[in-house]
Subunit: 163 residues, 2 copies
Amino acid sequence: MISPEIEQLMMNKKKTMVIPADNVANVMKENPLEHALLVLSQVGYSSIPVLDKDDRFVGLLTLTDVVSKMMELDEIDSDNLSQFTVADVMQTDIGTITEKSDLEDILHLLVDANYLPVLDEKGLFKGIITRREILKAVNHTFHEFNKETKIEPKILLQVSADQ
Amino acid sequence: MISPEIEQLMMNKKKTMVIPADNVANVMKENPLEHALLVLSQVGYSSIPVLDKDDRFVGLLTLTDVVSKMMELDEIDSDNLSQFTVADVMQTDIGTITEKSDLEDILHLLVDANYLPVLDEKGLFKGIITRREILKAVNHTFHEFNKETKIEPKILLQVSADQ
């Protein structure tokens, strides 16, 4: 379990932790792979969320997977990419969270993922939480913790007494 | 400043934080871009350190940069990739650290980078510190901090008194 004081400090940054769906580039699972490669190349990210027609999250498309498919086809050639769709190459075994997920679960999942898709109860894509935003919150927490121990030593006494 | 208690907990994991150079795939700056794309595709990473002939770190090659170059050449075609070298495309403005770098600097740099090259005083490539390993250490720290407040409340009292 994460201590309540640390969780509280991390949660100070919660509002800016989730990057909302409107600010996250995505592709549709029916998109031809050639189109998806163009999008990935333009946004400059190494992976991108895949949605279905109803805005439900269905997987992640990574640049590595597209390039591997390309090289599998005909050494390094992409002419045939357009015969495949995003659904043919995307990864579907992806850890996701909801807006109510525990910080502990989020931190655990981010050990193995650059970002986590945030879904609502219907599976609709609401945004992402990235390692970048979490690391910003960690920096904030590590610094504030020090400040708080200076300013309010009684908080620490209470913690000890309660446990 | 990061509190000494938190720094100490993070440093418990220091030995496993650095992935040594021997375990990190790399490319040489003289390599043809086509070869580099093969290596990147095989290792499955979205970027890779670039070294010179003396094992000095000179930059990072990202899959995005190779694919962008490829598309720039002739829509999506890679036939001409072999006329370019890694040095033509690599990024050189990369934050690096040494084995003596402060945790604070490391955490700050990792907000904007997936991993940091670790160099010695001569610029030789010694390994990398990744967000993944740092997040493992953060998880450890957040949990241990809680345990320590339970087991040894006096530690906290001392901290408060010292400050």
